[in-house]
């Protein structure tokens, strides 16, 4: 039985996703088992009797063989049960859902910045290869690519907040605005706009702009670099010569021909960028005290809250994998050569 090619492709990607998810969870499971801390003690405390200890031991299924434990683990994961946080005594999943929108906000704005500034930069650099626009773009890209992002964030805070006062400081919102806006989407800007609280909107924007720019610089550097590379590759192809032979104006050759071929590849790059920003925000959030999932994982780490750390890892990991797979799928659907 032959499946229609598109369906087959989607199934292929989904099964890949599944396998990778299993691999991901296997690794976190292993890491969890390697924990120096005794999971039973963590629940019952040091002074519990042997009876209680044994009871909880059985409850946790620690007497069963490893693969059964893994399957139980997987089952729990798929139900959304990531365990309970030692720090907050809340289910980890709930905590994560609370913190996730902040990171999403940051990563999305940063990616948009990367796209709308990075792509034109990359094209410009490729078209003027070897001349000064190319050099400038390459330098900006290289610095964005080579600078430690947390350091860049700190320097930016120093300059734009402390010395120049152009933007607000660390944190997502000034303290006295806290709690005024109903968190319906969790994304402050949208929530504030929807309730018409324009002061808060402004304030949120002022807080968002610096961390998003820093994260965005990283995205921009990567996107510009890849765009440049792809464009150079395309511009050396025969069909570009054909387009010129036809008498096409150079602008159309660049955007109508070369760029159209690059667009398809950029989809994957943008997906990759977004995914890596989810991760890159860990450090940025620390510097800007941004209450996102990166902060959550870092704080949990310092409090030895392993459930939270592993839960966070799984969530971020799954998103990471998911986004990559999605952009891969999109690429296959859009490129006529593979269709």
């Amino acid at each position: 039985m032959a499946l229609p090619p598109t369906l087959a492709k989607i199934l292929g990607v989904l099964s890949s996703l599944l396998l990778t998810f299993i691999g991901l969870t296997a690794i976190t499971f292993v890491i969890g088992r390697l924990m120096p801390a005794d999971p039973v003690l963590a629940i019952v405390g040091d002074r519990a009797s042997q009876e209680v200890y044994d009871q909880v031991y059985l409850q946790l299924g620690l007497d069963k063989p490893v693969y059964i434990q893994y399957l139980r683990y997987l089952e729990q994961l798929l139900e959304g049960d990531l365990g309970t946080s030692i720090m907050t005594a809340q289910p980890v999943m709930e905590d994560i859902l609370r913190f996730f929108p902040a990171t999403l906000e940051l990563a999305t704005v940063a990616t948009l910045l990367g796209i709308f500034v990075g792509i034109p930069m990359g094209v410009l650099a490729a078209v003027h290869q070897g001349r000064w626009p190319d050099h400038i773009v390459r330098v900006i890209g290289l610095i964005g690519y080579s600078a430690p992002i947390f350091w860049l964030g700190m320097v930016a805070l120093l300059v734009f907040y402390a010395k120049l006062g152009w933007v607000a400081g660390p944190g997502r919102l000034d303290v006295f605005y806290d709690g005024i806006v109903e968190p319906s989407t969790g994304i402050l800007m949208i929530d504030a706009a929807m309730s018409g609280e324009w002061d808060i909107f402004h304030n949120a924007l002022s807080h968002l702009i610096l961390p998003a720019s820093i994260l965005g610089t990283f995205a921009l550097a990567y996107i510009a670099r890849m765009t440049r590379s792809f464009m150079l590759d395309q511009l050396s192809q025969e069909y570009i010569l054909t387009a010129r032979v036809k008498g096409m104006p150079e602008r159309n050759v660049i955007w109508g021909h070369a760029f159209r071929n690059v667009l398809v590849q950029l989809i994957t790059i943008i997906g990759l960028t977004y995914a890596s920003l989810l991760e890159g925000s860990v450090l940025t959030e620390t510097v800007f005290s941004w209450p996102g999932i990166g902060q959550y994982i870092t704080n949990s780490l310092f409090n030895n809250d392993m459930n939270a750390v592993l839960g966070g890892t799984i969530v971020v990991g799954t998103c990471f994998v998911g986004i990559n797979m999605l952009s891969d799928l999109l690429y296959r659907l859009v490129d006529p050569r593979i269709r």
Binding site: E238, Y239, V245, K246, R260, N261
Partner: protein
């Protein structure tokens, strides 16, 4: 047909700067082209493709072009501005490249690419452009023009791809067409088909043709006049009929290399290359 030549080339030079020194791709090439079929024969590195590109002003970056004369129908191509050059490209002089797998844009349909070629020089409505494109596809003997029109380049065979190339390059009605190894990437049987199509169109429109190839046999049978190039220079110019009476040792060597059904060679002679051929005068005409 016309008295003055369409294209006049005098003392054309194309040089490249490389880390290991100066490379002279074309050194002092001169010829004229009327409404006739001119073949340029040479081995790899002889400069024949570079000559073609230089005529169109599309030499690769890093190359420098100079000449005493490079005229097309009275326009000096050397100091023409970009706008003039763009009008001439496609509308006056066009070029067919070797491999349609690479010379056609992979993410655009065949039809849109042909239309594009037309619309650059004759802006008309989409409907007219589509009709003319389908017409052209029929003219190059493609049997299901509507289907091919909607297809992507990777979905058509090599021979069809070349005919699409021909259609695309002929649709703006240029006076001269440069064919750079148009059949080298094709199977032998398909080669003849494509050449037949090319021949028909050129004859019907009274165009000039510059046929670039490494295949002397092919050129001898297809073209009226032949230019033999070696190491960036023209070592011989003659008519196809006079090939047997070629004077330059390189040409003679090439002719001798061609296996003949009626010949009685035990061993095919090996082409000897005399370093003396690299120095100009005497040989070029």
């Amino acid at each position: 047909m016309t008295d003055s030549p369409l294209l006049s080339v005098e003392d054309l030079h194309v040089t490249y700067n490389t880390p290991t020194g100066l490379v002279r791709a074309v050194s002092g090439v001169s010829f004229e082209l009327g409404r006739e079929k001119l073949g340029i024969v040479g081995e790899s590195g002889s400069g024949k493709s570079q000559t073609g590109r230089a005529i169109l002003g599309l030499t690769a970056a890093g190359g420098r072009v100079s000449a005493k004369r490079l005229d097309f129908k009275g326009t000096n191509l050397l100091n023409a501005n970009q706008r003039t050059l763009r009008q001439i490209r496609g509308g006056g002089i066009s070029m067919i490249m070797q491999d349609p797998k690479y010379s056609l844009n992979p993410v655009m349909t065949v039809g849109s690419q042909i239309e594009e070629a037309l619309l650059i020089h004759n802006p008309t409505s989409k409907r007219v452009a589509r009709e003319r494109s389908l017409e052209m596809l029929r003219a190059v003997k493609i049997r299901q023009p509507e289907r091919v029109y909607k297809a992507y380049p990777h979905e058509v065979s090599g021979g069809m791809g070349q005919r699409i190339m021909i259609a695309m390059m002929m649709i703006p009605e240029p006076d001269i067409i440069i064919a750079d190894e148009p059949t080298s990437a094709l199977d032998v049987t398909v080669q003849l088909q494509v050449l037949a199509v090319l021949d028909d169109m050129i004859n019907a429109r009274g165009m000039g043709l510059i046929f670039i190839s490494h295949d002397l046999n092919l050129i001898a049978s297809f073209c009226d006049r032949i230019l033999i190039m070696y190491d960036g220079r023209v070592v011989e110019q003659c008519t196809a009929a006079d090939l047997d009476r070629a004077q330059h040792p390189y040409t003679q060597g090439l002719v001798n290399c061609l296996p003949r059904l009626d010949g009685s060679h035990e061993e095919l002679p090996v082409l000897k290359r005399d370093p003396a051929w690299r120095t100009p005068p005497g040989a070029a005409r």
